[in-house]
C-alpha cells in the first residue's frame, strides 16, 4: 500500500488515506524483523498499560463511593461478567478472565487509535487474526476436552430430518472453520474503513470550497468511530461468548 503513487498534484489528496496504517520501526532503520520494535508494538504496549492503569491503579483505593476511574473499572467488569453469564452460561464463568482481557485490550486499542496521529493496532489483520485464532483454538480445545467426541454433535443437527443432516453437516463444518475469518476481519475491517474514511475527508479539507463540509464530516465520522470502537470490541467479545457456549453445550 505504501509504494502506491501518492496524489501530489494540486487539489488531489496530498497523502494517501492508507498511509496511517504503515508500520515503521521506531528506532530507525528500514528492516522489520520478528523482534523489531515498531509503532504497532508501541501502541499495543500502550493499550496494555492503559488496561493496567484502569484496572489496577483505578481500583487501588477501593471506596464505597467510587472515584471516576473505579466506577469505569467496575462498570466494565460487571458488563462483561453479565455478558459471559447471559450468553455463554453459568459454567463459562471460569473463562471470564480471558474474555475480559480480550475486551479490554480491544477496546483500549480502538480508543487509543482514535487519538489523532496515533496508530491503530486493531486495524491490522495480523493483530486481529491472532486474537481470533486464539479464540478459535481455545474454543475447539475446550469443546473436545469437555465433551470428547460429543463435540462433533455440533455439526450433526439432530433436530433436522435424517436425509438433510449430511448436507447440514457440511454447511456447519464450513461455517465453523470460517468463524476465525469473519471474527477477525469484522474488527479490522470496521476499524480500518472508518479511519480511512476520516482520512479521505481530511484530504478534501484542503480544497477551500468543500473545506467546511469536510470538517463537519470529519467531526461526524469521528463521533461515529468512537461508537464503532466500542461496538466492535463488544461484538468481538459477545461472539467469543457465543462460540464458547457452542463448545460447552454442543447440542443444538
Amino acid at each position: 500500500m505504501a509504494s502506491e503513487a501518492h496524489g501530489a498534484e494540486e487539489g488531489g489528496l496530498v497523502f494517501h488515506p492508507m498511509d496511517q496504517f504503515i508500520i515503521k520501526p521506531l528506532f530507525g532503520g528500514d528492516h522489520i524483523g520478528l523482534f523489531t520494535i515498531t509503532n504497532a508494538t508501541l501502541w499495543m504496549a500502550l493499550a496494555v498499560v492503559a488496561v493496567v492503569a484502569l484496572m489496577v491503579v483505578g481500583t487501588r483505593r477501593r471506596a464505597i463511593v467510587p472515584s471516576r476511574g473505579q466506577s469505569i473499572g467496575e462498570l466494565a467488569y460487571g458488563f462483561i461478567y453479565k455478558m459471559v453469564e447471559d450468553v455463554a452460561g453459568k459454567d463459562a464463568v471460569k473463562f471470564f478472565p480471558y474474555i475480559m482481557t480480550l475486551f479490554l485490550f480491544i477496546v483500549m486499542a480502538n480508543f487509543l487509535g482514535l487519538i489523532p496521529m496515533s496508530f491503530t493496532t486493531t486495524s491490522h489483520f495480523a493483530v486481529t487474526v491472532v486474537l481470533a485464532l486464539l479464540v478459535f483454538v481455545t474454543v475447539t480445545v475446550v469443546g473436545f476436552v469437555k465433551n470428547g467426541a460429543g463435540f462433533l454433535g455440533l455439526f450433526w443437527v439432530s433436530s433436522a430430518p435424517l436425509p438433510l443432516r449430511p448436507i447440514l453437516a457440511i454447511i456447519e463444518v464450513i461455517s465453523y472453520f470460517v468463524r476465525p475469518v469473519s471474527h477477525s476481519i469484522r474488527l479490522a475491517g470496521n476499524v480500518m474503513a472508518g479511519h480511512a474514511v476520516i482520512k479521505v475527508f481530511a484530504g478534501f479539507a484542503a480544497i477551500a470550497v468543500v473545506s467546511p463540509v469536510s470538517v463537519v464530516a470529519i467531526t461526524a465520522m469521528y463521533g461515529l468511530e468512537v461508537l464503532v470502537a466500542f461496538i466492535q470490541a463488544y461484538v468481538f467479545t459477545i461472539l467469543t461468548c457465543v462460540y464458547l457456549k457452542d463448545a460447552l453445550h454442543p447440542s443444538h
Binding site: 450468553v87 475469518v181 469484522r186 461484538v235
Partner: protein
C-alpha cells in the same frame, strides 16, 4: 489489463457491502419494531440483536475480503 480487471472485480465485490447493509438494517429495524411494541423485553434482547447483526455482517465481510484479495493478492 489483468490488474485493471482485478480492480473492477474489487469494485463489484463492494456491492456485497451494500447487501450486508440491507441485512443489518433489516435486523436492527425489526428489533426496533419489536422493542417499541414491548419495551420491557427489549433490554434483555440486545445481546441477540448484536449477534444477529454480526452474523448478517459476516457475509458482507466476505465480499470485503474478496475485494481485498483482488486488490492486493491477485
Amino acid at each position: 489489463m489483468e490488474g485493471q480487471l482485478a480492480h473492477i472485480g474489487a469494485g463489484l465485490a463492494a456491492i456485497g457491502s451494500g447487501a450486508a447493509a440491507i441485512g443489518v438494517g433489516n435486523v436492527a429495524g425489526n428489533f426496533l419494531a419489536g422493542a417499541l411494541r414491548n419495551p420491557s423485553a427489549a433490554a434483555s434482547q440486545t445481546a441477540t440483536l448484536f449477534i444477529g447483526i454480526a452474523f448478517a455482517e459476516a457475509l458482507g465481510i466476505f465480499s470485503f475480503l474478496v475485494a481485498l484479495l483482488l486488490m492486493f493478492a491477485v
